[in-house]
Structures are given as C-alpha cells and as structure tokens.
C-alpha cells in the first residue's frame, strides 16, 4: 500500500455532493468545477481526487467548506499518525 503523505486532506463524499459548488468558491485555488458543477481537484497528485491535499495555509478555508457544505459532503482528514 502506498504511504499516505502526512498532510491534511479534504475528503469528498460523492454520494452526498450535489455539485452546487460552494466549496469551489471557498477554495478556488484547489477546486475547480466540472461541466455538471461537481468539484475537481486542481492539484493533480495521484490518488488525490477524492481526498484533496490541503496546504497548511488553506486549512481555515477548508474547514469553512466542511462546515458550510449544505449536504455535509466534506470532511477534513487529519494527517495519518505514524504507525
């Protein structure tokens, strides 16, 4: 299993998200929108399309997105503790 980088990630629950794009407004540098309005990770790191890496400088905005997403589709995943 690939080692997970030790950074915060913004998890998108696709089963809940309806693509109205509030998160993309709060994090325009990290999230774009596809033709249907669903968020698209702009940092094209491997395996980061549903768990978008969040730089420390954007943690606050990401937290806002988690709290404001009308469908509770977002979650902030803390860096994995060393095993």
């Amino acid at each position: 299993m690939a080692t997970v980088p030790n950074r915060y990630r913004l998890h998108i629950d696709w089963t809940k998200c309806d693509g109205r794009g509030l998160c993309t407004e709060l994090l325009p540098d990290l999230l774009g929108r596809d033709k249907w309005g669903y968020p698209v990770a702009l940092t094209e790191e491997r395996g980061s399309r549903s768990d978008v890496f969040i730089p420390g400088s954007r943690l606050e905005a990401a937290t806002d997105a988690v709290n404001l997403c009308p469908l509770i589709a977002l979650a902030l995943i803390a860096p994995t503790a060393k095993r």
């Binding site: 629950d13 696709w14 089963t15 669903y38 698209v40 395996g47 399309r49 549903s50």
Partner: protein, 417 residues
C-alpha cells in the same frame, strides 16, 4: 511454519497434484466427497499459523483487485495486536459475482461449496471472528444451503442474498447489503478492516480466495506454490466466453498463457479481433499479444489485469467498438446513480462511444471521449468510474484502426459489410 505442515499432515489426505485443485472432489461434491478428497480440517489448529502461511503462499485475491490476501488479514486489529479492538470481528465470503461474463464463483459454489465453507471457517478462526457471512446470488445460495446442512460445523454462517447487479460485489456494497439490504457502495474514509459491518473490523474475501485458503490451510504454502510460477503462484479460476466452441470455467496455473487457455476452449487465434481480459472493468488485448500469461505482471504493460479471471473472446468478424459501446452503456445503467461524475459521466461516455461505433464521422468524438473518461477517474465512491474509464480508453487504443476506418466511412469487420 513447517510446524503447521506437520500438524496438518496428520489429518490430511494426499494433496491434489497438478492444476485440478478446487474441483478435485468432482462436480457437486457432497461433504462426504469433500472429506474423502481433501481430508478433515481442524480450524483451531491451523488458525495460529495461517496468516504467515498465506503470506508465504503469495495468494492474491481472486475477486478482482488482486490484493495480497495475507496483507488484508494482517490489517485486522486482532492480527495487528491492537488494544483498541473492542468489537468482535466479521468475516464475509463474497460470492456476488456481478460480472455478467463471470461464472466461476457460481460454479465453485455449486461444485465445491465445502472448500469455500472451510476457507470461511479457517479465516474466521484466524482473526477470531464471531460473525460469519456468505453473500451470494439466489442460485448459489441453494447449493450453499444444502452444503451447510450436510455438516455440523457451519451453523454459524449466515446467508445473505446478493442481487444480480454489476456492483453488488464491491466490498462496501457487500457490507451495506448485509447491514441495510441495499447493495450499493458507501462512502468510506477508512478501511473495512478497521470499521466495516456495524463498525466492526470486517474482512471481505471472494469465495474462490477462501477456497484457496482452505487448501493452503491443509497442504501449506509450498504445495500451493507447486503450481504456477514464483511470481504467479497457485491456480486461478477463469471464465472463457464469446468466440469459443463452448463457454467454460477452468482452473489454470498462475502462469498459464492466455492463448493456451483460449485454444483449450476451441478459440482460433486467426479468428479473434480481441480478448477482453478481466471483465467489463478490464482491458482489451489484441491478437498479437495473446501469448502473454494471465498474470498481473505480464498484463501490466497492456493496462490489463487478471481481475476475476474473465476472458471474453471477440470474433474477428465483430466490431470491437460496437461491442464495447454496448458494454459501456450497460455499465452506465449499472451506476448506482449516487455520485455525480459517475451518474452523468458514464452515460455521456456511452453515447460518445456509440456514435463512434455507428460511424459518426466527427473526428472530435474520440478526443472528447478520452477526455471525459479521464475526468471521471477517482471521482466516485467506488471504482466503477475507474473501471469504465479503463475499458473505454483500452477500446480506443485496441480498436484504433476500426475507429479510423469509421471516420473514412468504412468498416473493417465482416459483420457490417
């Protein structure tokens, strides 16, 4: 580990020789046939060393993803020695087999149900699970029910019916089906081995995987490795269909060449347009590449993997674009419709491929299709978008000449001439 082998030797019959292992007890094996062929298995005795033995065996999952079986076991809290382990563990035998072109799990559960039951009981003993489930389709449940009634040690296994949908066998859909009755994937942050069925640590293994576990429990890893190669040890079940004299489920060594498997089913290399390897989430191999082994390493350069051992042979007179368009439409219809990119992207992918297949001469279509297929990857709660994308991209590359011909208003296949 030799210790395990020695202990087991006491009760074991002679291990099957050659590549006929899973069906060594004959068709529709009763418990009596099963014990006469493989001997008894003392689950409590094999449990302590089982995971190390599985590790040495190199057994990989036979349900599709091909993950190392020992590692999945090793992720269970009891095995990791976790003190946070509060609730008791769950083991689920997954026989949903949603792939329309796969029949191996159904065949296994019909002909060797007791090996699967043995594997489930051995796995449960190894991770100290208290809840055991076998999840499979209606038709296979009949075989399993009969088998369970024939023995005294399988009463704890609960049977749950899997619907005949493509994604009913996806691991989170399996857990969801057992928990809520809805066989659709759920969003997951962590692993099922940490928190699965009712938050309990949950091990989900394909039924064929468990049948191999049953054999490794008895005969050990060296025996398992005596078939196949160093890199691709053991045997695997394959389902061959399409342009063959008869559809077949076969047990083959891990290093079997694809062309040899196909030839044994009556396929003729010169009459093949392509072979879909690994099922509807798989990839196409063109005829000149059929000499490769049906193994993870050999198939990687072609973007394919053995998956659940599905080989669909497309006859040379058939259009691969048309066939694939039908498959992608099917996959789009099988989307659980929960995740936007999957719900909207897959039908558009199907439509684009249908237009290419039916001779629309817009040269932009293939580029649009490739871009759309790339955009849905990783953007769903399960791998359905990824698998569908893999099939589409592989179709565009394997049948590029056909696509070019369509753009010129021609068709390379007899079917449409």
């Amino acid at each position: 580990m030799t210790q395990l082998t020695q202990q087991v030797t006491i009760t074991r019959m002679d291990a099957p020789v050659g590549a006929t292992r899973l069906f060594a007890a004959g068709g529709r094996a009763s418990y009596r046939d099963h014990v006469a062929t493989y001997g008894n298995l003392d689950f409590a005795r094999v449990a302590p060393g089982l995971i190390q033995e599985l590790e040495r065996s190199g057994l990989t999952g036979r349900g599709g993803a091909g993950f190392a079986v020992a590692r999945k076991f090793g992720a269970m809290p009891h095995i990791r020695g976790s003190r946070l382990w509060q609730s008791s563990a769950v083991v689920i035998a997954n026989g949903a087999e949603g792939e329309p072109r796969s029949l191996k799990d159904e065949t296994l559960l019909r002909d060797s149900p007791h090996l699967v039951i043995d594997g489930l009981l051995a796995a449960a003993a190894a991770v100290q699970a208290s809840k055991l489930y076998l999840y499979t389709t209606e038709i296979s449940l009949k075989s399993v029910r009969k088998a369970i009634a024939e023995r005294r040690d399988a009463g704890a296994i609960r049977l749950v019916e899997a619907p005949e949908t493509f994604i009913s066998g996806e691991a989170s859909a399996v857990v969801n089906a057992i928990q809520t009755g809805a066989a659709i994937p759920t969003d997951r942050v962590g692993r099922l081995t940490t928190s699965g069925l009712k938050q309990r640590p949950t091990l989900v293994h394909n039924v064929e995987t468990l049948a191999h576990v049953a054999l490794i429990s008895r005969y050990g890893s060296d025996w398992f490795r005596s078939a196949g190669s160093e890199r691709d040890p053991g045997t695997r079940l394959v389902t061959v269909s399409g342009a063959v004299t008869r559809d077949s489920v076969l047990e083959v060594p891990g290093d079997a060449r694809i062309i040899d498997i196909l030839t044994s089913c009556g396929a003729v290399q010169s009459k093949i347009a392509g072979v879909l390897v690994g099922g509807f989430h798989g990839a196409w191999l063109t005829p000149e590449h059929l000499g490769v082994n049906l193994s993870t390493a050999a198939l990687a350069p072609y973007g394919a993997q053995p998956g659940a051992g599905i080989l669909y042979v497309l006859g040379a007179d058939k259009c691969g674009l048309r066939f694939s368009a039908d498959v992608v439409r099917y996959l789009a219809n099988e989307s659980a419709g929960q995740c936007g990119p999957c719900m909207f992207g897959l039908p558009e992918m199907a439509t684009l491929l249908e237009r290419i297949a039916s001779g629309d001469r817009d040269p932009q279509l293939a580029r649009d299709l490739a871009a759309m297929s790339e955009s849905v990857v990783g953007r769903g709660s399960c791998h359905h978008p990824n698998g569908t994308s893999r099939l589409v991209l592989s179709t565009l590359s394997a049948f590029a000449e056909d696509a070019q011909a369509h753009l010129r208003g021609q068709c390379l296949r007899v079917e449409y001439r």
